[in-house]
């Protein structure tokens, strides 16, 4: 099936198999390998991207469902090589270690802060419920999002 998707501001028209997931489309067809796959049950959140402004787990969206949509991936968050304030906050606060869950964490953080610019610690932790990190114990991820909240406002 032919689909047209805008990814990080660029439009693509591609032929895809009906069962191709959005994450496969991003990684395999567009070579946007910043979006990672960590599970097969929509549990880990490593593949989180935004679709039409909402955070989604791209392993559980078919590429055809995103037809006509606008997708932002981790690669689209920084502009001209300059990190977005959320990315910067993760760096400043050591909000990542191995980096594998990080793209999903940053994308979900963007979603949390978009919907709630001044979240409490509890709201941040609740917002991260669908994203696993095995390295940081979430301590510095929560701190990073708190600092990003300040930086963005």
């Amino acid at each position: 099936m032919e689909i047209s998707i805008t990814v990080n501001g660029r439009s693509y028209t591609r032929e895809v198999a009906p069962m191709r997931t959005l994450v496969e489309f991003l990684r395999e067809d567009l070579d946007l390998t910043g979006t990672h796959i960590g599970c097969d049950t929509t549990s880990c959140g490593a593949c989180t991207v935004t679709l039409d402004g909402r955070a989604v787990k791209s392993c559980t969206v078919l590429a055809v469902q995103a037809d006509g949509g606008e997708v932002t991936t981790i690669e689209g968050l920084s502009e001209n090589g300059t990190m977005h304030p959320i990315q910067q906050a993760f760096k400043e606060n050591h909000g990542l270690q191995c980096g594998f869950c990080t793209p999903g964490m940053v994308m979900v953080a963007a979603d949390i802060l978009k919907n709630n610019p001044h979240p409490t610690e509890e709201e941040i932790r609740h917002g991260l419920e669908g994203n696993f990190c095995r390295c940081t114990g979430y301590h510095n991820i929560v701190k990073s999002i708190q600092h990003a909240s300040e930086a963005l406002n």
Partner: protein, 786 residues
């Protein structure tokens, strides 16, 4: 201390990770790349009668299907030999790349399908028909050693891999235990855990027929070790023609140390096929086949005198090693476990007895802490239980038993009853600080008040020691290791004075690119941006043993320091020539050699250039400024610390709420406190996971019933509080940086602190012990069913 050591320098590797430009193995695409999918045993124990590959082979895009018969007798080895008490060699049956004749655990590779696309490979794998006869399986290690239990391997009677002991003569320990004024006895289960790095294992093998060379991209913690094992002990291919590359790796926690069958199989298959072959585990495969951690059944007794001093410790464990011996599996329940039984205490008599057992389950190996968390859980659970029984405050009981402080310089190291000699320690200091951070007295008062209000507040303590900086080669060699455990550090000064450091350790989250640059820049007195760290490629790094056992800085860092010092020493000879002075009259600091008492100096950059443009040069001196060193430590390092957990148990539901977690650790000198704190946080979260949430379960038939994130409870952000951390610094006396290692500390100390806190909360119900994980159901039952 210089400009960078001890500073929370932000990590340079974050730039690529945060922008989605990490270089993980699954991100790599090669021209002509093909994809593998495995046919795995659905049975825990089964005879394989026949494998029908015909229909699958005709499926779209299929290039090859291989079974055990095609691959032949290749098998992956175990890296550590542990003998039976009677001197017999441990049982070490072959671990084939693809099952031959029999499958011995659910998920074992039975066949592999290689196709043009991943989907085609997976579809075709579904069409491979295997005719099995299911056989009786055994999953419980205690049942496995009973007479008449099903045999996992015909030549391992009673499924025993080894039986092993360490410590004082058993009769002396038994006598002391008999004469003790108080004895605390507990049975434990250190449950099986799935390491769960968020990046699953992933391999890409490529054979170049023209050069007769292989490249294996792999998500490993130790590329050189994989190359050595695979070339010399599995496939018999020439080591110098194999390049192993492990760039960014998405977490390891031990599970990516080992040489796995799929790695060797892909390396074999790429030559057969003449095309690159990739395989990335899905999460179900990761649950079934990544080496698991823990899984010990233990009975332990601690004897005390009337003053609360420990007089004896006796431990017997069955360690479940699964169906095959993984690379370091046999070392974990023995030399990384029994040797930690001294803990931080002066226990005069200790006997540890461990039986390693085969079962029809996935192999078990080191997982963050590897044997040490299990022993710490045993000791610390005994301590808090004994404190309750003897009506002594658990902090006070520990103070009565601590080994007095020793720095390993003025005071000698501490000789334990279980073979090791601790390097330096001040156990009292970390516990005092942790108690202070917790506000311990107030907490106890608060607990008393809350109990009167019917609330269940619990406070749990844990003081731990760990053996890290793995390891002195001769020592581990005498204990059965089949490898040396030194490290390699290569420092190449470029003609412009810029420095490239090649380390045999591997970073999969630890931030070596930053922290290693910090101490190199300081020691050379040059800007940190002039130092680049390279790891993870056998063609770039001369050799190395990789990263595990909190060894990278203590062993790998020391190797780099040796090379840096050789550079400064040679540089001094070049500088002396240029400055027309004697080497003894020079002083090196701030990146330049200065003639003492004068302002005559030459910079590191000028000496570097001179070394590569040796026109005006000392006679007989080789050009260049490039040194590689091997560092073999003289001892392990022994970090330690004190952890305190505060929990509240919901009386109605049994849910445990972790309110606070306090950690005061001593990991020796610290290069980057931000990174060390991060390591502690992550370790603590995994330890809390073991205490409250996680556990791999097999049913009686050997089916894994926790094979996905829907069934296996990973710690989430809202399960955890902010952690309160601080540290003390007792330098390691035997390595040049004075560092001890921080990777595993959090996971070692935290589990018993949390479980002790839950037991403390439940003490009004007379509950002494519940087996981990302390789920709401178990806690509720303990409160309501006694």
């Amino acid at each position: 201390m210089g400009e960078f050591i001890g500073k929370p320098i932000k990590r340079r590797e974050d730039n690529r990770f945060l922008k989605g430009k990490g270089r993980y193995t699954d991100d790599i695409k090669l021209p002509g790349m093909t994809f593998a999918a495995f046919v795995r045993s659905p049975y825990a124990h089964a005879r394989i009668n026949k494998i029908q590959t015909g229909p699958a082979a005709k499926s779209d895009g299929v290039l090859a299907i291989y079974t055990g018969e095609d691959v032949g007798n290749y098998g992956v080895p175990c890296g550590w030999q542990v003998n039976f008490k009677n001197g017999d060699t441990m049982k070490e049956p072959p671990h084939p790349l693809l099952a031959v004749g029999k499958a011995r655990h659910v998920g074992e590779n039975v066949a592999v399908v290689i196709a043009e696309s991943l989907q085609q490979a997976r579809d075709a794998a579904e069409l491979v028909e295997v005719d099995y006869d299911e056989l009786p399986a055994v999953t419980n290690p205690k049942k496995a050693v009973e007479e008449g239990a099903p045999l996992v391997h015909d030549d391992a009677p009673r499924n025993m891999v080894f039986d092993w002991e360490i410590g004082n003569p058993k009769n002396e320990v038994d006598d002391a235990m008999k004469n003790a004024d108080h004895m605390t006895r507990l049975t434990f289960r250190n449950q099986r855990l799935a390491p769960n790095a968020i990046e699953t294992r992933t391999y890409l093998a490529n054979y170049d027929i023209n050069d007769d060379k292989w490249t294996l991209y792999t998500s490993t913690q130790n590329p050189h070790l994989i190359r050595l094992l695979m070339c010399a002990f599995v496939l018999g291919i020439p080591e110098h023609k194999v390049r192993v590359i492990s760039q960014d790796v998405g977490g390891g926690f031990g599970s990516k140390i080992y040489h796995y069958t799929e790695e060797a199989l892909l390396t074999w298959a790429t030559k057969e096929l003449g095309r690159p072959v990739k395989w990335t585990a899905d999460r179900s495969e990761a649950f079934m086949t990544d080496a698991h951690g823990r899984d010990y059944d233990t009975t332990a007794e601690m004897g005390f005198d009337s003053k609360g001093k420990i007089v004896a410790l006796r431990v017997h464990s069955e360690a479940n090693l699964g169906a095959y011996l993984s690379t370091f599996s046999t070392a974990c329940p023995t030399y990384l476990h029994g040797t930690l039984a001294q803990g931080c205490y002066t226990t005069p008599l200790i006997h540890i007895d461990v039986t390693g057992v085969f079962t029809n389950t996935n192999p078990v190996d080191a997982y963050r802490g590897a044997g040490r968390p299990e022993m710490t859980y045993i000791l610390e659970h005994l301590m808090d239980t004994a404190a309750l029984e003897m009506k002594i405050d658990p902090a006070e009981l520990r103070f009565r038993n601590f080994i007095p402080a020793f720095d390993g310089v003025e005071q000698p190291g501490y000789q334990t009853q279980v073979a090791l000699q601790y390097d330096s320690g001040d156990y009292k200091a970390t516990l005092e600080r942790a108690l202070e951070m917790a506000g311990y007295k107030d907490l106890r008062a608060q607990q008393k008040a809350s109990r009167e209000n019917g609330q269940l507040l619990g406070i749990g303590l844990s003081t731990y020691i760990e053996g890290c900086g793995i390891a002195p080669s001769a020592v581990v060699g005498s204990l059965g290791a089949r490898a040396g455990l030194y490290e390699v550090g290569h420092v190449r000064v470029q003609p412009t004075g810029k420095v490239t450091v090649f380390t045999g350790t591997h970073s999969h989250g630890q931030g070596h690119e930053t922290s290693f640059a910090q101490f190199v820049a300081d020691r050379l007195g040059i800007p940190i941006d002039d130092v680049d760290i390279v790891h993870g490629d056998t063609n770039e790094v001369a050799f190395g043993m990789g990263t595990y056992g909190s060894r990278s800085l203590a062993v790998g860092g020391s190797a780099i320091v040796k090379s840096v010092d050789k550079i400064i020493e040679k540089g001094a000879r070049i500088a002396a020539h240029k400055l027309e002075a004697a080497v003894e009259d020079l002083n090196y600091s701030d990146g330049k050699w200065t003639v003492k008492g004068t302002d005559k100096s030459i910079s590191f950059g000028d000496v570097s250039l001179t070394a590569y443009v040796p026109h005006d040069y000392p006679a007989g001196e080789e050009p260049g400024l490039d040194f590689s060193s091997f560092y073999d430590p003289v001892n392990f390092t022994f970090p330690f610390g004190a952890h305190i957990a505060v929990v509240e148990v919901d009386k109605e539901t049994g849910k445990v709420d972790l309110k606070r977690f306090i950690a005061c650790d001593d990991v020796g000198n610290v290069i980057n406190p931000m990174i060390v704190d991060g390591q502690i946080h992550g370790g603590v979260a995994q330890g809390v996971g073991q205490a409250l949430l996680e556990g791999v379960e097999y049913d009686e038939n050997g089916q894994m019933i926790t094979g996905s994130y829907m069934d296996y409870a990973m710690p989430r952000a809202d399960d955890l509080p902010f952690f309160e951390t601080d540290r003390k610094v007792t330098p390691c006396p035997h390595n040049p940086l004075g560092v001890k290692g921080a990777g595993e500390a959090g996971a070692i100390g935290s589990t018993p602190a949390v479980s002790n806190a839950v037991m403390d909360a439940l003490s009004p119900f007379g509950v002494k012990d519940i087996q981990m994980p302390l789920t709401p159901e178990k806690v509720w039952r303990a409160m309501n069913e006694g």
